[in-house]
Symmetry: none
Subunit: 209 residues, 4 copies
Amino acid sequence: MPPLPAHSPRKVPRQERSRRTMERILDAATRVLAERGYDGASTNRIAAAAGLSNGSLYQYFPNKDAIVVAVLDRFADHLAERLGAEIEAAMSEPWQTGGRSLLEAQIRLLEENADLLRVVVEHVPRLGPFGKLDALRQRLADLVRIYLLLNRDRFRPGLDVDAALWIITETVGQLAIRYVLDRPPIPHDRMVDELAELIIRYIRSEPAP
Amino acid sequence: MPPLPAHSPRKVPRQERSRRTMERILDAATRVLAERGYDGASTNRIAAAAGLSNGSLYQYFPNKDAIVVAVLDRFADHLAERLGAEIEAAMSEPWQTGGRSLLEAQIRLLEENADLLRVVVEHVPRLGPFGKLDALRQRLADLVRIYLLLNRDRFRPGLDVDAALWIITETVGQLAIRYVLDRPPIPHDRMVDELAELIIRYIRSEPAP
Amino acid sequence: MPPLPAHSPRKVPRQERSRRTMERILDAATRVLAERGYDGASTNRIAAAAGLSNGSLYQYFPNKDAIVVAVLDRFADHLAERLGAEIEAAMSEPWQTGGRSLLEAQIRLLEENADLLRVVVEHVPRLGPFGKLDALRQRLADLVRIYLLLNRDRFRPGLDVDAALWIITETVGQLAIRYVLDRPPIPHDRMVDELAELIIRYIRSEPAP
Amino acid sequence: MPPLPAHSPRKVPRQERSRRTMERILDAATRVLAERGYDGASTNRIAAAAGLSNGSLYQYFPNKDAIVVAVLDRFADHLAERLGAEIEAAMSEPWQTGGRSLLEAQIRLLEENADLLRVVVEHVPRLGPFGKLDALRQRLADLVRIYLLLNRDRFRPGLDVDAALWIITETVGQLAIRYVLDRPPIPHDRMVDELAELIIRYIRSEPAP
DNA sequence: CATGAATGAGACTTCATTCAT
DNA sequence: CATGAATGAAGTCTCATTCAT
């Protein structure tokens, strides 16, 4: 049985120069992926874009997919960092405005990274579950879960928390993605409002007066 | 003027044998796509799966993508046919139950074709817009639009029909897809109910008593 | 040792219908060759142009090259027939004008068949010596030889008949071909004159008065 | 890595290897072309003849035609270099012997490269105009044109310089080619004499006494 | 005889990956 | 560590030719 293909960086670079080279590779790979899609992102093109010889790539990554995974992980880190800040800010607001802010932030973040998002969604073959992107998704789900549990009595009686959790996170996530990738003729702010309305009405027990 | 790259079958088979071979190719391609994804679906493998020589494929299709498109078109035809029946049935019901039936039918249909759906969603790079799949999507959107327009006064005052249309169709479509592909621990019927609830609450003007 | 590839028609058709089909194939092949060159002249395209199924070709010709050879032979026959008439006419004229007429006829004939000529010269890989084209060349050479021998005393003393024969026929043949294919900015009549001048001066013993 | 010996060429050991490989490819391609013609010169065969893997070819050339063009360019360079020397030498002679020398040189050069010449003339489909071969042809044409213009008064009155230029260059070029490829039973020196005679008589105003 | 479906060898090309320097 | 030449498997596609109907 052949060894499973390793998808993690071959080495954790200790030296500064190595770290910089690795960044250059990831920057280049990100650019190439965004511009030419997964299939167009050959290792040679990535190496060229990074100003490196093609062989050098393999000193930092065991194979092409490891590079892609690293790009996606870094993308997830970026999103996590940015969203983290928004989450903290949102926690100090009342939940109504806080929730809306988070929604808005999520859409805005995706809009800022539409190219890479398109690659993730449309072009990247499944490379096994994406550790960090899934972690980010999980983190947002946890937030919603806590909120749902804490405010259980405010919601309509029959609400199945587990089902609702899935519905809400997927609705927000998928609609945000489609909104950014398909660019329907809906203004950004309106989109946020509609999404908020969709979710709030789904869980609240009483209609707005 | 050069002929546009043809994505349509090279020949319309007149003989029975020819028709059967074409079906064999499409069946094989469907199987291979479902099992190995778009990138893994080489013409060689499709030919082998169809019990044909590689060259024979090209008597029926001008290139690989034409085969994939044909598979997707056939998939869309299948869905359209099945959904068509459901739509007719739903039209003779009162709209509350009719709408739910349609929702249920849509999810059920996707469940029955999960493998191919996965390929469509995850693996197939954009081959230009898919004629027939998009047509089907459009048809459903039209249905929703008509419903929204006819019942405009029943809904909450501020409802932006265009925005709502997009929100509704994408929500239903994307959630159904994710439900089928990710298999969250939500029973089929519950899923239908939640989805119906999500949509109805989004548009109605008064709370359910 | 495998049998040598046969380059002659598989059968001499006895029935009228067969003969007509054969003509259709040759017409089609001629057209396709002229329009798309040797490499572009696939058997399928020839069959299509002839309004036949691709398999039927092989009832009349053992392989593709046999078709090409037949086309070229027919071309040679056509040239021979036309030139034959001109030769006869030329024989009843005084040799000075007769020679010029032949020159003119040769260039005119090639001009009328420039497309096919281009294929013969530029695209057709050597398929062994072309029986009939070579025969035609030989016939013209014989004519020149006879003329040279009969008028030996009129020419400059040192003339080596064999060398001159080759020089003359090749000069006329090659220049006519290049003239037709490369279309230099020289009018047809001038070209004939120059060619005549070139040859006459080469062999005559006395200057023009 | 051990320090490089101080006296070893500091220059490009890598590029040197590369250069050699390229030469090997061109040599192999030349050989294969000469032996099997254009159609028989597959990339696989060229690679094999060069002792390389098929893929390596594409490190040096973007496609098959680029290889053929490079072979032809190298051939043209070779001819140009050799002819260049002859031209210089001829310029220091009186024009009568100089012209003959050039004629002789041209035929001799072609004889030395008969194999490749055959490929160029018979097998290579038009790959667009051959830069360097055409340049060489042009260079010779210019030489003739200058000579014709400078000696205009020495020639017969009615001479059309443009027509004559074309006639002369094509006559010499085509006859030399046919002589080398068809090997008529004419000795080399005789051939040169006849060719010279043919041209001189064509342009001169007075016959030799 | 005609048909056209089927064949299969072989062409060109790409690309992830390895390895000697 | 870096380089880039070299590899070779695999992919898409074409085409002359055969054969069952």
